[in-house]
Each structure stands twice: as structure tokens, then as C-alpha cells.
Symmetry: C2
């Protein structure tokens, strides 16, 4: 009699799928190992392990390691490892000043990386999606040339993403329910692999989980993503999974009210964190002019802010301190409600961490309710603003890694 945790008895096929995942996880998390080791670790018998490993090799997810000890004879001593030559995940990102693409294989090796400048504020959805599709085709062609099979494409988008419908609402860009996923699928001639869209802060949190602080064991955290002129979003990781809320609108920390009678926000409310402590507000407080052309990218005025702060310019340092204090107000709410293990600053917030972290940490220690008993550390993302792109790429590979029996990878794909 078989049973699964959700209730009903399970059949042989789902047992095999479960065990494929079990073997995959063992090798993905613990590194190359022999079939005998896998059998000992999982409690599965050796014949079953051999059959499962065989299927994973056939699916080009595993490969035999090169022989370490040429004197040894026979298969049992040989180890298997993740194959870099089978599948690759593609991540795409829409930012205010550019589009970016990244593809990596199962071993984490970069197989394609490119970005193109684009004024996403001035361009309409159709234009942006057309250029995004062109970039995706280029990535897919590059994978095809390397004999890699795409496991999926994931697009990181700023704003409210409906992951079920594949639509995006972004008041800053003036996008109202644009069916990004469908449009992109059409542009790519309805590819056979999953094509997903997701919020950039959520993907940033997943990037941080799988490639950043999560690697050192962080499992419950709020990833705070500063992006573009107005955007501040959060991705919430609970028990190593993204917490989406009922409709998928969780993590909208940019619209937490930090000042009841504060300035109007593009969302229609007053005193939102994004309106008070977004990059535009920060630069204004620091008296750094933001030319209209620079609205398409916030990097150079932020670099100027850093330079001035380093030379002790008072407008710059005061603006940073004030921004840090306002960020703290929203983070106190988040810490009081969610009791995370840590806060991770990402996007442009990471670039300003030398000024932001000490103030935010001090404020949290002084003012978060549980801080008397436990400090919630504020740490900086080491992913150089690429956390969403890393997360998107990793999400495209996630099913291959966690449920290898669920996906069809056998077909050769040629797109472009």
C-alpha cells in the first residue's frame, strides 16, 4: 500500500517520479556520487537507483564523471553528476533603461548573456515585447548552437504581474493588463517549453535564495529590491519558497504608507515608501538633478550621489540617512508582521548599502518589536543588481532540478 502526504494512495508512476526527484536532489545538492552511495543515502535498492540514474542520463540531466581511478573495473565505482550539456534555463529582464538576457546550464555555467539599451518609458508595450522577443530568439539560437535544450524562459517584469494570466500592470510605464506572456509566446512561435513571467522583486528573492545568501543557509527573508526611478519591491521567502499571497500581490512594500500626509504616489495613495524613498525622491533630496533623458536609467545619477557622499557632501549624506530612516519604517512593519530571519538589500539599494545598512540596522534594533530578544540582520545582496535575472534563469531550470520526471525534454528545439 502506498501513500502520499496529501491524502490519497499513490500509484507506481508517481512513485517513480518521486524517486527520480529524490535521486536528482541528492546529486544536485550533494555533488557527484556513485549509484551505490545514492542507494545507501536514499534507502532505495540498487537496481531501482540504476534504472532511475539511467533515465536521468537518457534525459541528459545526468552524466557519468570521467574515470578517477582508471585501475578500477566495472560501473559501480563510477560517479554521476549534473550534466552541463543537456538543458539550459533562460532568464529575461525588463528594466527602465534596458532589456537583459542570461542563460545558464544545469551546472550554473553561463551560456548566453546580453543586454540592449531601450527606453522602456518611451516605448509602448508592443515595441518592448518585440525587442524582448528578438533578444529571446538570440538566446535560444545561441543555446541551439551549443546543442542545449531550453528548459524554459522566465521574464522578470517591474510592476504587478498576474502569473496565472501572464499579464502585467505597471502604472509608471502606463501598462494596463498587457498579456506579456501570450504576446511573447506568439513572437516565439509557441515554443514547447514553459514561458513564464514574474515580478522582478519575487525573482530577485529567488535569485538570492538560489545564488546568493540562500547558499549560506538563509531560508526566511525579505528581499528588498530597489529598481529604476520609482520602484521598491519586496520578495518574501518563507521556508525556502516564495510567498505570493492569495492573488500573488504580496511584497508590495513600495506601497506601505510611511507618511500619512506624504507626497502622492503613482498608485494613487499618499506617502508610499516608493514615493518618499524611491531613487527619484532620494536624488531630489540630495539636490542631484535628474534630467528627463536619465529617466530611462537611474545608474549615472546614483553614481554621482555615491561620489558626493564619499567626499562628505552634506546634501548627499543627509539624503541617504533620511532615505534609510524611511526605509526602516517600512521594514519595521515587515519585521513585526513577518519575523524574517534577515533583510536583504538588492538592486540599487545594494549599491548604497555602506550608507543605508548601518542606519537601517540601528533603527530596526531600536524599534522593531522583537529586537529586544533578537536582532534581524540587514545584509546586502552580492549579486550586483542581477538577482532578478539570476532568479529568472534559475526558475527556468527549477523543474528540471526538483521534478525531473514532470518535464518533456526529449524533443529537439529550434527557434529563430
Amino acid at each position: 500500500m502506498n501513500a502520499d502526504a496529501n491524502g490519497g494512495p499513490v500509484d507506481q508512476r508517481s512513485v517513480r517520479r518521486h524517486n527520480l526527484a529524490l535521486v536528482m536532489r541528492q546529486v544536485a545538492e550533494l555533488g557527484p556520487r556513485s549509484r551505490a552511495t545514492i542507494a545507501a543515502e536514499t534507502g532505495l535498492n540498487k537496481t531501482t537507483v540504476s534504472s532511475l540514474v539511467g533515465e536521468l542520463i537518457e534525459r541528459r540531466l545526468f552524466q557519468e564523471t570521467t574515470i578517477e581511478n582508471p585501475g578500477a573495473v566495472g560501473r559501480p565505482g563510477r560517479k554521476v553528476q549534473l550534466s552541463g550539456d543537456g538543458v539550459a534555463g533562460v532568464g529575461l529582464e525588463v528594466d527602465e533603461g534596458q532589456l537583459a538576457a542570461l542563460a545558464t546550464d544545469l551546472t550554473g555555467r553561463t551560456r548566453f548573456s546580453e543586454s540592449v539599451s531601450l527606453d522602456t518609458w518611451a516605448s509602448g508595450p508592443e515595441d518592448v515585447i518585440q525587442q524582448l522577443a528578438a533578444l529571446a530568439r538570440k538566446a535560444l539560437s545561441a543555446l541551439s548552437a551549443q546543442m542545449l535544450i531550453p528548459a524554459g524562459v522566465t521574464v522578470a517584469l517591474p510592476g504587478r504581474v498576474d502569473i496565472t494570466r501572464g499579464t502585467l500592470v505597471n502604472p509608471n510605464l502606463g501598462w494596463e493588463g498587457v498579456p506579456v506572456a501570450d504576446l511573447l509566446r506568439r513572437h516565439l512561435d509557441h515554443p514547447p517549453f514553459p514561458l513564464r513571467i514574474d515580478n522582478d522583486a519575487n525573482l530577485g528573492a529567488l535569485g538570492e535564495l538560489w545564488h546568493g545568501h540562500g547558499r549560506a543557509g538563509l531560508r526566511d527573508f525579505v528581499y528588498l529590491h530597489g529598481k529604476g526611478t520609482m520602484g521598491i519591491g519586496a520578495g518574501i521567502i518563507v521556508d525556502s519558497r516564495i510567498f505570493r499571497g492569495t492573488q500573488g500581490f504580496s511584497g508590495e512594500i513600495g506601497h506601505v504608507v510611511v507618511s500619512r500626509r506624504g507626497p502622492l504616489c503613482t498608485c494613487g495613495n499618499r506617502g508610499c515608501l516608493a514615493a518618499v524613498a524611491g531613487a527619484l525622491a532620494l536624488l531630489r533630496t540630495a539636490k542631484i538633478p535628474v534630467a528627463k533623458v536619465e529617466l530611462s536609467g537611474i545608474d549615472s545619477p546614483l553614481e554621482l550621489l555615491k561620489e558626493r557622499a564619499r567626499t562628505g557632501n552634506l546634501d548627499a549624506t543627509r539624503a541617504l540617512t533620511e532615505t534609510a530612516r524611511v526605509l526602516s519604517l517600512a521594514l519595521i512593519s515587515a519585521v513585526n508582521l513577518l519575523n524574517p530571519e534577515a533583510i536583504v538589500l538588492g538592486g540599487w539599494l545594494a549599491g548604497l548599502s555602506e550608507w543605508l545598512v548601518p542606519v537601517v540596522q540601528r533603527e530596526l534594533n531600536a524599534r522593531a518589536f522583537a529586537a529586544r530578544w533578537w536582532e534581524c540582520p540587514v545584509v546586502t545582496s552580492g549579486l550586483q543588481g542581477s538577482a532578478p535575472l539570476f532568479g529568472a534563469t534559475a526558475l527556468s531550470l527549477h523543474e528540471a532540478l526538483t521534478d525531473p520526471g514532470s518535464i518533456e525534454l526529449s524533443q529537439a528545439v529550434t527557434v529563430g
Copy 2:
């Protein structure tokens, strides 16, 4: 080959335990049914179901229903149902002006209910716990007299509860890390059943889940609990489970900052929701004097507030509107971060819902980020302030209902 969702293969004993839970759930959620029906619904074979049902009857968790159709012969047609004569759960609650106890059996019938007045502000922890133990003994004796076996005791406490260590910190009461669970266990001569303590807002949320709006299908909500002179706490239910955070300090919405330069709070911070919109602040704004003696119970001044508001007293209605607006600020943060299905007002907030709900709903609709696409309804708890006590009682019975194979119920218990 057997497999469970967490990785390793499972053994026969855990399969049986799983299947006991499966059969229990079928009857607990869907009502009385025959062994044949259970077999058909679960996919388990009839012999197995008979054996499992037999064990549940032996454990006094199930009983045969009375014969509906006396003409029918043999056992197969007989139905089994939850037994009200086996186990009972005990809930206790420490409030500002009183201690309360409730015990119910597996069918939800009340088997004991009593409350005693006690000025918990003036009494020290030892005194409160001694009186709580006396009340618990009384409840356990009552169960014993009814031949019921206690499945557990759960205590709802105001403040920061460390559920792992069983300790309570409450700055309002001046309790600093009091080992409530251990002290109570000692007073009860180390009873054989689980004795737990938990935060009252968390238990209120569970009470609402199992006995309130959760019965109508609500699975993701923030339960906002107004309690005593200063307390406002939240219990967060995600996917029908309590969300506790990393250390169990989640839901401290009373210490979300709603006014950056607002009044000092007992937690040491400024402008916390509890300090600005707690019962004491509300009554002061309404110009209702709160005598020192009334600090031991907030019900009568709140009744006076209601009376005045009903007769159109401007101080009263303005204070209620202002409190509702401030509550909204904290709830906008909670809705933006967590995207719950609904907000449930409980405790004294429920008693004032006719004034609070319209304002809070309007503010959320106007100002929560996702409100343009989806309204987060604000509803009132129907549990008359008893949600934490219902939750505590139900939690004491929860293991018997969800994992009947995990608990030892055979021994006769006599306490007191």
C-alpha cells in the same frame, strides 16, 4: 516501494499512521459514513479500512452510529462518526480582567466553561499562574467526572510567547520571560497530555479558522485582535495554517509604526498602532475617563463609548473614525505585504465593527496597492471575543483530529 513527499522511503508504521489520519479526516470533515464509503473515497481496500476504523473506535475517537435502518442486517451498512465520549480539549485564557476556561469534546459540544475575575495587572505571575492552575484542575475534574480523557491543554496569553520554551514576555504586565508552561505543568503534577501556551492573537486566528469564517472557506486571512487596554495583535493564517515567522514573533501588528513622531509605546518605540489606536487611546480621544480600577477590564468603558456613538455623540464618533483610519494605515501595510483573502476584526474591535468596518473598508479600497483589481473584504468575527479560547480548545484537540496515530490516549487521567 513506498515514498513520502519529504524524501525518504516510508515504513509500514508510518503508512498506517498516515492512513489513520486519512480515515479520521474523511469522517471529521464529511460527517458520518460507512466503512465501504470510506474505502471507496480513499482508495484504501475494505479490510484495511475496517482495521483502521477498529483502531479509531478502540481509541474512543470514533463510534458506531445508532442503527438508522433496523431492517438491515450485518455491519457493512453501519456508519461511524466522531465520538463525543472519548477525548476533550481544554482551552485557557489570561485576560486583563479575568481568567477563562473552556473544554469541548470531539463533536464540538461544550463540556466545561467558566471564568473568574482577576486583576492580572495587579497580580504577579506566580499568583496568576496559581489561579490559572486552579481553574485548569477544575476543568480536568469536570472532564474526569464525565469519563472524558483530556487530549491537551492550551493557554492563550497576551504578549510575546516563545512556544518552544513555553515562556511569556509582556511589557504591559511586567512579565519578563516567565516560564508559564513549566510552572503550570508543575502545578498540575506533570500531566501526561501536551500542555501548550500560545499568543492570544494566533489562537484567535485559529479559532476563527476552525470555528468562524474558516468554516465558510476562508483560508488566507489576517485576524486582528483587540484586547485589553493596550493590546492589538494579529494572527496570520496562510493556506489554513498559522504563519509564525522564524522565531514565532510574526503578527506584531500592534507595533507597526503608524505615526513616525507619535506617542511613546510600552515597547519603547514611537507611534505604534497599539499606542495610537489601542482601547486606552481610543477612549481618551472619545473623552471617556478610564478609572484606574477599570484598567483591569476594558469592557464597561467600551460599552459607554458604544452608547454615546449610537446617540451621535461627536467625541465618540470622531474617535471611532480616527481609530478606524489609523487601523487602516497598519492594515494597508499588512495587505500590501501579505495579500490576504480577507481581514477579520476580533476582540473588542469586533464589538465596534459597525463604526470601524465601513471606514477601514473604504480606506483599504482607496489606498491598498492591489485594491484597484481586487477588494480585500473586512469582516467581523462572530465569536464574541472568544476566538482565542475557541482556538486554544480546538488546538488541544487538533492532533487527535489530524494525526490520531501520534497520540497516546489509552491511559486514564485523574488530576486534581
